[in-house]
């Protein structure tokens, strides 16, 4: 980690250090780290374990368990296609295949320029207006490939 990242990590960890008689919450801490750094780099496991006074294995265990905790940096833009059954019934698997072709990447991969990561999500509760695609924090309904293409940011922006 760069020095600036280490300093940032220290600041993020501060409020999560357990006070006397209090139990550490690893998941909540890792979510806060990810919020600040974009992902949880494996070399943050040591500092997190130290701050929370728990074994490193526990931190690594929680980190590897949750699909939405990431250990590597991802694209600047995250495109998630819903593979819940209501969206599948409305052809979201085809939509996913089309997007893989358009972006030239597989599921879970990032374009070579580091711009876009393509992921799947199991249901965003948007079943009434599926198929659903989430681009960064925004959820779009009745989505087509051309709709999503319009939302893709050009490289560098």
């Amino acid at each position: 980690m760069a020095t600036s990242e280490t300093a940032l990590l220290d600041r993020v960890l501060e409020p999560h250090r357990p006070r006397p008689g209090e139990q550490a919450n690893i998941l909540r801490t890792l979510l806060a780290v990810q919020q600040a750094l974009g992902h949880v780099p494996p070399n943050a496991i040591g500092p997190v374990a130290d701050a929370l006074k728990v074994p490193e294995a526990h931190v690594a265990g929680v980190l590897s368990y949750y699909p939405d905790l990431h250990t590597a940096s991802r694209g600047r833009q995250i495109v998630r296609v819903c593979l819940g059954e209501a969206c599948i019934a409305n052809r979201s698997m085809h939509l996913l295949a089309d997007l893989q072709r358009v972006l030239g990447i597989g599921l879970g991969e990032t374009t070579k320029d580091g711009q876009t990561t393509l992921e799947r999500v199991y249901c965003l509760g948007n079943c009434g207006v599926g198929p659903t695609v989430m681009v960064d924090e925004t959820i779009y309904g009745r989505a087509s490939v051309s709709d999503v293409e319009k939302l893709l940011k050009p490289n560098g922006s």
């Binding site: 265990g61 209501a86 019934a89 698997m93 199991y122 965003l124 009434g128």
Partner: protein, 518 residues
């Protein structure tokens, strides 16, 4: 009059003449374009846009409403250019003209689509908070007795009698007890909890207060899944609002309530996994007993109930247990909240008494198949629910009838598939999902789901054998009988019902030498 005075006069006149339009702020309304409408009309001086909860008639979204002489007027599937029509009250339809809404018997969702989600004033003016006002003055035994009379069963999927779970927590003595709202609505095809949190967040808080009073808890959590960012934000804002109003107290002692975000794990909807996650660990399922009501969060008595369950408790405290007990069927009291989705014309939320058949629901509310689609199968109860072909749609929507059929109502999700659906691909998807989301605690689920996925991948790829289908059935039976929780125990159902009803599709994928003689 000077220029400024004229302008002010003009503005005031405009404000008097301003047309108030109602537009839902629900995630699905926004995903369908409600934000685009709000943005397009934001700077028009005589238009005031009020963002509300959603009626749940998602096929109509984005839906614009305004007050008419006899109640609200609706403009479904509105576009920015429709503003002049709406301004002139041209072409609006009234609520009775929408059979999807008019034929429902709503209670929990009765006020949805009318009020601003974060206005405590509107919530109370429309009849909210009365359930808690009544419960606050009752002894805890009386609250439990009311729930027992009501016949309410948990709405998350397990359908356990609510009074019983709460009473166990009440009877267990401890220095600390917790109330947890299970807002990890992971079943694909369901969204009623999300709608409650985004549309009437004070209802969930009210239900949790009633529970806390009944069991003697002073600390609560809303465990909200990562996939619901708007719901979590709305709940947080509502808790802050309730605290500001000084209403987050039980017997004049503060009730501490927090929102906790999950991180994308389906199994965390199972109550013991949820509590492991809430403690900050891996979302692993635990062997029960002890049940959370005896030893839950940090080993203390903890009630984990579903968001819709809390929402329904509010109605029961407000309207009385007899109201609830008189609705539905003998074994399934009250109203069922169905969430229709898939290839139907009218996807959306339906609240009706238990007992209607699947066919009635699909016809009366689903409005038939989407254009150009033909019915193939319907799945009830989320990704762990069974598939039903056309010949089985006469089954009534009740806990017992579904139980007898080896199926589950789950959280009320209904997904319709059309004739374009590849059942082999769908079956492989189910097992991919199960394997992806298995917590790994028990072997039948951890290994079984991966092996079943591999078998289905082989069949899908055209290299399976008849023996693979037999093995899949055998493996499914093992998973059903020996898995620790419903994730592994129910996962075989959609796959095996797909093979049962659409076996030809699977057998056609086998190479000719693998085809069975029968």
């Amino acid at each position: 009059m000077d220029r400024e005075g004229t302008l002010e006069c003009f503005n005031r006149l405009n404000l008097c003449m301003a047309v108030t339009l109602y537009l839902s702020n629900d995630t699905s309304a926004r995903a369908a374009g409600a934000d685009c409408l709000a943005a397009a009309w934001a700077d028009i001086p005589d238009i005031r846009v009020v963002r509300t909860s959603s009626r749940g008639a998602f096929f109509l979204e984005p839906l614009v409403e305004r007050d008419g002489p006899h109640g609200r007027l609706l403009w479904p599937r509105a576009e920015p250019d429709d503003l002049s029509r709406i301004r002139n009250e041209a072409g609006g339809i009234s609520l009775p003209e929408v059979p999807f809404l008019a034929q429902q018997q709503r209670a929990v969702f009765a006020r949805f689509g009318t009020a601003q989600p974060l206005s405590l004033e509107e919530y109370r003016a429309n009849g909210g908070w009365r359930g808690w006002e009544r419960a606050a003055n009752l002894p805890s035994e009386a609250i439990i007795a009311e729930l027992k009379t009501s016949g309410l069963r948990g709405r998350g999927g397990a359908a356990f009698p609510v009074w019983h779970k709460w009473d166990i927590a009440r009877r267990t003595s401890a220095d600390q007890k917790y109330v947890v709202a299970n807002a990890d609505e992971g079943d694909a095809g369901t969204y009623c909890d999300r709608m409650i949190m985004e549309g009437e967040p004070f209802r969930l808080i009210e239900g949790m207060l009633i529970c806390a009073k009944a069991v003697g808890a002073d600390h609560g959590y809303v465990y909200c899944r990562w996939e619901y960012p708007a719901a979590a934000a709305t709940m947080q804002a509502a808790i802050a609002e309730i605290e500001r109003a000084g209403l987050l107290t039980i017997d004049e002692r503060p009730f501490r309530l927090e929102v906790f975000r999950g991180a994308g794990s389906y199994v965390c909807g199972e109550e013991t996994a949820l509590l492991s996650s809430l403690e900050g660990g891996r979302g692993m399922v635990k062997v029960r007993p002890p049940y959370p009501a005896v030893a839950g969060l940090h080993g203390k008595p903890t009630v984990v109930s579903n968001v819709l369950t809390f929402g329904t408790v509010v109605e029961i405290m407000c309207r009385g247990a007899d109201w609830h007990a008189a609705l539905g069927t003998a074994g399934s009291k009250g109203l069922i909240v169905l969430q229709l989705g898939g290839r139907i014309r009218q996807p959306g939320l339906v609240e009706i008494p238990f007992g209607a058949t699947l066919a009635e629901v699909l016809e009366r509310f689903g409005g038939g198949m989407a254009d150009g689609s033909r019915f193939k199968a319907v799945q009830v109860g989320g990704p762990l629910g069974s598939l039903f072909p056309e010949s089985q749609l006469h089954i009534p929507l009740c806990f017992d009838t579904f139980n007898e059929a080896g199926a589950v109502l789950g959280h009320g999700g209904i997904v319709v598939f059309d004739d374009q659906t590849d059942m082999v691909e769908l079956a492989r998807h189910y097992m991919t999902f199960t394997a992806d989301e298995s917590c790994g605690k028990c072997t039948p689920c951890r290994i079984g789901s991966v092996r079943a996925r591999e078998l289905l991948e082989r069949i899908e790829g055209g290299s399976g054998t008849g023996a693979d289908l037999d093995l899949l059935a055998d493996l499914g039976d093992t998973m059903k009988a020996t898995s620790l929780c419903a994730h592994g125990g129910r996962a075989p159902y959609p796959v095996l019902t797909a093979i049962e009803h659409f076996g030809d599709e699977f057998r056609r994928r086998l190479p000719s030498n693998g085809r069975r003689e029968s």
